[in-house]
């Protein structure tokens, strides 16, 4: 045991940002954990089974995430997916590994990403300035990896005009600025 009376407190990347721009909201979702699951060579069936038994989740398609209860799976590569779920303690990987056992290799990705939830009536217009993909045609739950203002990103369609945007945590401030500016440029 460390002999200091000192415990570490987590600092949200953007201070738990909540921004209102016109009718629209940008919220930092620092309550979500992200854990990647790599599918071992030849282990597709085992991962599918583990996701099913663990949460009732199906293996997501490359363009559409799957959801069960409050956990979402996003396909991020041929043999890789990322699970997103509410979880604030730094043991998300252990939580997932316990559920899926030996079926997949897990890596905690919570701190790798900044997660913004954006919503509001100008959201599609703002995304036209930010995201090269045809988000207006996304199915519910649609997901993709892309690039926004030179930053690697992921986008997930939650419902209506609500989306999750993910990008690298180290450039979280630049990312938030890009998202904010996109709203400001299209909001009346």
């Amino acid at each position: 045991m460390a002999d200091l009376d000192f415990t570490l407190t987590a600092t949200p990347l953007l201070g738990g940002a909540k921004h209102q721009i016109g009718e629209n909201q940008i919220v930092e979702r620092d309550d979500l954990a992200l854990v990647s699951v790599a599918i071992p060579l030849g282990g597709d069936a085992a991962v599918a089974k583990a996701l099913k038994s663990g949460w009732g989740l199906t293996v997501p398609e490359p363009t559409v995430s799957s959801v069960a209860q409050d956990i979402r799976a996003i396909r991020t590569g041929p043999d890789q997916l990322i699970l997103v779920f509410p979880h604030t303690t730094p043991d998300a990987r252990a939580f997932v590994q316990a559920k899926i056992g030996e079926a997949g290799y897990t890596t905690d990705q919570t701190d790798v990403w900044v997660v913004l939830e954006i919503s509001g009536s100008d959201t599609l217009a703002a995304l036209e300035r930010l995201c090269p993909l045809d988000v207006a045609r996304f199915a519910k739950g649609g997901s993709a990896r892309t690039v926004m203002e030179h930053m690697g990103a992921m986008i997930v369609h939650l419902s209506g005009d609500r989306f999750l945007l993910l990008s690298a945590s180290s450039s979280a401030q630049s990312f938030l600025h890009a998202v904010e500016l996109s709203y400001r440029y299209v909001t009346g």
Binding site: M1, L4, L8, L13, A38, L41, P90, D111, S171
Partner: protein
Amino acid sequence: MTQSHRIDGGQIDRSRSLKFEWNGKKMAGHPGDTLASALIANGVQLVGRSFKYHRPRGIFSAGSEEPNALVQLRKGAAQEPNTRATTVELFEGLAATSQNHRGSLEWDLMAANDLLARFLSAGFYYKTFMWPKAFWEKLYEPVIRASAGLGNLSGQADPDSYDHGYLHCDLLIIGAGPAGLAAALAAGRSGARVILADEDFVMGGRLNAETHEVDGQPGADWAAAAIAELSAMDNVRLMTRTTVYGSYDHGIYGALERVTDHLADAAGKPRQVLWRLYTQRALLTAGATERSIGFGNNDRPGIMLAGAVRAYVNRFGAAPGRRVAVFTNNEDGLRTAEDLKAKGIEVAAVVDARKGEYVLNTVGRRGLKSITLSTGPTIPIDCLAVSGGWSPNVHLTCHHRGRPVWRDDIAGFVPGEGLPPGMTVAGAANGAMTLAAALNKAHEAGASLASALGAKGNAGDAPTGSDENFDATPFWYVADSKPRAWVDLQNDVTSKDVKQSHQEGFRAVEHLKRYTTLGMATDQGKTSNILGLAIMAEASGKTIPETGTTIFRPPYNPVAVGAFAGRARGKEFRPTRLTPSHHWAKENGADFVETGMWLRAQWFKRSGEKGWRDSVDREAAAVRKSVGICDVTTLGKIDIQGRDAAEFLNRIYSNPFLKLPVGKVRYGLMLREDGVAYDDGTTARLTETHFVMTTTTANAVTVFRNMEFARQCLWPDLDVHLISTTDGWAQFAVAGPNSRALLQKVVDDLDLSNDAFPFMACTECTVFGGTPARLFRISFSGELAYEVAVPARYGDAMMRGLMAAGEEFDAVPYGTEALGVLRIEKGHAAGNELNGQTSAQNLGLGGMVSQKKDAIGTKLSTRPEMNRDDDLRLVGFRPKDKSILLTAGAHFLNPGDPEDMAHDQGWMTSVAYSPELGHSVGLGYLKQGSERMGETVRAYSPVRNQDILVEVCSVHHIDPEGVRQRG
């Protein structure tokens, strides 16, 4: 000034008046005016001076093809030169000035050039400024530069903002004239997802400028109804003020939307948006552009394209003249006379080239006064409407190297083979030159494209338009005219210049363009290209199709560089990456340096420190004396898992990794395929199937990408998986003799003794009572050292915790400069040494390229040239005179040798002042360096004026046996 030339009718809002300034004079116009139409309404004819001869020029067209009426718009930093008055929408407070004159517009001193015209013909630069040679830089170039160009830049940073955007559609329709509207109605009604873009601020194209009827109603009314119907469709997006300027690969089009250019105040919104349009299909309905006829002094203010005269009269309610003549070679030109008469404007003459009548010459310096006809009479007029026929706007069809083909019946080029994939052309752009034909063809194209894209709705009927007579008889220029006849108004190219180009052997069309500048600059020869070609064809005794045409490239119209840059300006040129301890560092006097996109603390200034060296020396010394803490989060971290992860690493690194035990870290060297060393770092084995690799900051992405390629493409049979965790872990180097004591206070229940946790050990653990962490015993400084990582969200707290725990040891934070000092003292290679040219042998790490296995680069690293005994070796250097500071980049010479490359012995890669040793130390590559310990060589740096003697020594300036890091 009153609007002396304002007449009835048009699509302007007379209920509101807009005040504007032209060359400081106050004038007024109406919403719906362009600057050009407002100037015409105010009786202004002279608006600018020509490029070369500084001839007085007036408004020539009513669209983006304008070659003459280029003005400077707005004031101060926002001033924009070379803006076409014909496309500028009038707004309250608009301020514009004329350009390209010395003195006033009316009395331009540079007009003297016109008197020297015979010396300034095509190619005069090439002939005139040949000698004497010395005059070029001193005299000719400064003079030419001073007089070249058109408008002036403000010299200040552009205060406006620009943006980029992305749009998607089934069908992009380019141009919203009659054809574009008909196609959009058909496709939109069918249910296709349509974008209809037009560069004008009102859709309708020529329908707004002509008196044609569509479906039994005035064309402009039909257009307004069509726009209203399209606006109501959810599947159709109408984009006015939007120029589709280029066609790119995969159905992508570039478009520039002028979002706030027409507003006095942009209210914080971007001025322009550069759109990338992703399309399934594109339909080009860009219409046609009218061209002129060459005749003597055909460039005077008041001489305009006939279609423009109709546009000003019919659409803008502005009369370009009180007494107008028409010179035409086609039926369409005759409409001008009818339209003018209908507006009560006197038509003094209709000169029809088809009847053998020509205009020979004109008079009127600052405005047209009269024309002289081939039949004899001189007719006083103030405006001449000229029509030499119409050229289909094929520009975008050429962007994938399509070549237009000539059609004799319309005397124009139409789209040929090689259209951009997915593009269809309809209407006048495709040679359907009458309204009825254009509407029909475009409707058909819109309906069939929508249907091909899977839209199932009813496209409705094609609109019916008047099928007017389009009888074009080619007539290019008046051969009997003695005075100069202008072909290209923007570049002052005359018919004589074109003939001279032919005489002097510049006969290929592309040569003609370069030699005479025909078709260059902002208008890209929209009104002049065909005329120039026709004259060249005649001079060479060939037909126009035999002569060919220049090819069109993007952009169709000028695009501001600011629009291409978008938001990427100044600090937003690229994203900024911050380390987890950034805020703590900022609070503690850090000075930051950009390393790639990262901001890293390079030193922490303490009170009393006068310069950076004071801070860096203190930090480096403190690490060697007690303990220091450095944020090393920026190093690339890659999580590697899988049954074959060890085998994978064994193939990636040149040194063995197969048998790295769990709980151990190993230094690894990576080679490129060609055997050159490109990255180094450490990899830790956390479990049998789980490794964590660190890379250099600079190569984090490259290494990941190369490994992903190897995994997916070279060895797909291996079970190995990669994911970046660089941003996920806040990692801190804790270095110095007291690092163990410090960390023992931080980690939970872990024996850090040398036996329990020796050099190159690693483990997962917890710190500060339960926060998950990873601990590695590795050393970049050569001291007893560790790197400890926590999830990034705890990075700020961890830095504060480490500093608190280190207080009793006088722990210091240290930055990248001290980090550099420590690694140079220890002799560790970094970016300066791994410069993309160095082999493992050069680095003195030849032993790390295992010959017992195959890894990337192993084979080619054995090439003899990379293993020469006399080749460069990395060694250490110290100055003979210890008071002298070494300089990086200095070249080594043997004492007494001349200072030339033939005697070059290598170069100094890194230097630092070592507070530990009390003098400067260096690393560098020296020929046969490892065999020259103790020798003295010269470190010669002519750029820094330094030539000193240095002694060759081990790269390990401190602790060569590595006792400290293993202690």
